[in-house]
């Protein structure tokens, strides 16, 4: 009899204990993250983590700052945090984008609709980036590219954060000067991390110099070497072509860069423009 009572009591105790210590997942169903309407202030303000993180449901949070903190607390690498939060923020901001795309003023003709959608989508992505990198302080991604290593890309990101590109207003000389100063500062900063050759590729590929050289050499179909030589020749030079001539200094530099024959072709092409 006593043995039976003991066994029943043990089973009851076991059941009670298991119920009281059951995993968070089972007990937090009711507090699952609600659907986001938009990344509001309350989703971004930090609230201290108080409970142990045993299941994913303990890690995720409708408060994005907490979500990031929880992911960091379990040792999640930055790239995983970025992937998770990017999709989360996209999901939130995507609702507004979806609303815009379902409005009646979206063009019917495919190419116009695509243009409209691309514009709206780009606006959404800018907002996503701002939330991730400015509001949540997540590190921007840097990876190996054709010219640069991930570490060099990281420094390029840093240069752009320290001395940002600013949109210039041609009628405001101060903004033009500020943009110029920032560009020089980026170059100086990166000179500490990139070789002279890589600095040239940086200027060409990331600072719009290649586009400038290509416009200058329009219809010349240059070789890689000619293109690079002309880029160097144009450095700090006034590229105006007037009355069939460049400035004497630029003419000398371009002749050296292209050779006399190709220089003559350039002059002929400029003349026919």
């Amino acid at each position: 009899m006593k043995l039976a009572v003991f066994l029943i009591a043990t089973v009851l105790g076991l059941a009670l204990g298991l119920r009281l210590t059951s995993p968070a997942q089972n007990r937090t169903e009711a507090t699952k993250p609600a659907e986001f309407a938009a990344p509001t202030e309350s989703m971004l303000s930090f609230k201290a983590v108080e409970k142990p993180l045993l299941r994913w449901s303990d890690v995720e949070s409708t408060n994005l700052t907490n979500y990031v903190a929880n992911l960091r607390a379990i040792g999640c690498p930055e790239e995983v945090i970025r992937d998770v939060l990017r999709d989360e923020v996209k999901r939130i901001l995507g609702k507004k984008f979806a609303l815009t795309m379902s409005s009646t003023n979206v063009p019917i003709v495919p190419s116009q609709r695509m243009e409209f959608r691309s514009r709206e989508h780009a606006r959404m992505l800018t907002a996503v980036d701002s939330t991730l990198y400015n509001d949540l302080g997540i590190e921007r991604e840097a990876f190996d590219t054709f010219f640069f290593t991930a570490a060099q890309e990281h420094e390029i990101l840093r240069a752009n954060a320290l001395y940002p590109r600013i949109s210039t207003d041609p009628s405001d000389p101060a903004s033009v000067e500020q943009a110029r100063q920032n560009k020089i500062a980026r170059h100086k900063y990166l000179a500490g991390f990139l070789s002279p050759e890589l600095l040239e590729y940086y200027a060409l590929a990331r600072e719009g110099e290649a586009h400038r050289v290509a416009a200058f050499l329009r219809a010349m179909q240059p070789t890689q070497q000619e293109f690079l030589n002309v880029f160097r020749a144009l450095n700090n030079q006034d590229a105006t072509f007037q009355n069939g001539r460049f400035s004497p200094e630029l003419e000398t530099r371009l002749k050296a860069a292209l050779g006399p024959e190709r220089f003559a072709k350039l002059v002929a092409l400029k003349g026919s423009d």
């Binding site: 009899m1 298991l18 994913w56 003709v109 495919p110 590729y201 050289v213």
Partner: protein, 358 residues
């Protein structure tokens, strides 16, 4: 009375045992993941997580270089599928992005030949294909976040399912008729599948903008300025068909459908716009951003000049009049660079060619 202490002792022992078991459970759950499965298997997991900690989640205990293992580990700790997709997809995408970046020289377009550019593009396309194949194999292929955004997550998930079951095939100029036929059959199957989930209007939009020949049909009718309603009618009439043209015409059955959709008058305009000299004139107009008024004036001048005797005086007058209309010396130079622009052939032939289609 003797029973009460026994019962209490039993209760206490049971409770202590339960608490002890529970404290071990989270670590065991984070550990116990069988490869390619949602079911726990402590044997395989012990090998996967040698440094597991008994208390709390640690990423190092969840992470794996094997994508399926990683997904399984995440599932085992209750991670929602959408987050698993973000993590695994993010990892695959990052891997391929790095590989693509290594072959794509951003400056090559300024000095490479078209053959060199094409070689590099082919290499990039191969990597993209390889990435998409891997994502599809992992069951993670996702439609882009801008596509069909207005439909919401659930319907977009169905689109994803449709694409997984009946994949869209990229067609090129070298695609065989069989490949083209297969691509059309798959598309038809996707649309049939989606008709159970999307409203007729949603399905039409999906067909026109995401998964159909909307762009090819826009190209076909580009010089007749269709109204939105006309565009829809034309689309419904000839979508998912072979839009190859012979002598400027689609196959007779499709031409008949097009005529019915547009009505005789508008179809006449469409036919007129397809004459070779008009096709080149409209493309010229697009290139130099001419207004429809300018195009009309050029057409009139061209007809008058073509009917007038060809002599120096008439030619100069023609050039002068075109210059007045275009007000752009490069455009005038281009216009007079080929008789296709400045003359109406005696028997105006319709344009021929193959339209870009899916």
């Amino acid at each position: 009375l003797g029973i009460l202490p026994v019962a209490l002792a039993g209760l206490l022992i049971g409770y202590v045992l339960a608490v002890a078991v529970s404290s071990l459970r989270p670590a065991r759950e984070a550990l116990s993941v069988a490869p390619n499965s949602n079911e726990p298997s402590s044997a395989s997991a012990t090998k996967e997580h040698p440094e597991a900690q008994p208390m709390g989640l640690r990423w190092q205990n969840i992470d794996s270089q094997d994508y399926l293992q990683l997904a399984g580990n995440l599932r085992a700790i209750g991670c929602p599928e959408s987050v698993i997709t973000s993590i695994v997809c993010g990892r695959v995408t990052a891997l391929y992005r790095a590989r693509i970046e290594k072959v794509r020289n951003p400056l090559a377009k300024y000095w490479s030949s078209s053959v060199e550019r094409s070689t590099s593009e082919t290499e990039v396309a191969k990597l993209v294909q390889e990435r998409d194949k891997l994502l599809t194999q992992l069951g993670l292929y996702t439609v882009s976040d801008s596509s069909s955004a207005e439909l919401g997550d659930e319907k977009r998930a169905q689109i994803q399912q449709a694409l997984l079951h009946f994949p869209a095939q990229r067609l090129g100029p070298s695609s065989t008729p069989e490949e083209q036929g297969q691509a059309r059959a798959n598309r038809k199957a996707r649309i049939d599948y989606l008709s159970d989930y999307l409203s007729p209007e949603e399905l039409l939009n999906y067909r026109m903008y995401e998964d159909g020949q909307g762009h090819a049909i826009e190209f076909l009718t580009r010089n007749v300025q269709l109204t939105p309603e006309e565009f829809k009618k034309v689309f419904l009439a000839i979508d998912n068909e072979d839009l190859t043209q012979t002598g400027g015409k689609l196959r007779p059955e499709l031409e008949a459908r097009l005529k019915e959709a547009l009505g005789p008058e508008r179809y006449g305009e469409y036919e007129e716009s397809h004459r070779i000299n008009n096709v080149v004139l409209y493309d010229f107009a697009k290139q130099f951003k001419l207004t429809s008024e300018q195009v009309g004036q050029l057409k009139q001048l061209r007809t008058s000049f073509s009917n007038a005797p060809m002599n120096r005086e008439n030619t100069l007058a023609y050039k002068d009049a075109v210059g007045q209309v275009l007000k752009n010396s490069s455009a005038v130079q281009r216009f007079f660079s080929s008789p296709l622009f400045y003359r109406v052939p005696t028997s105006s032939q319709p344009a021929s060619g193959v339209l870009p289609g899916k």
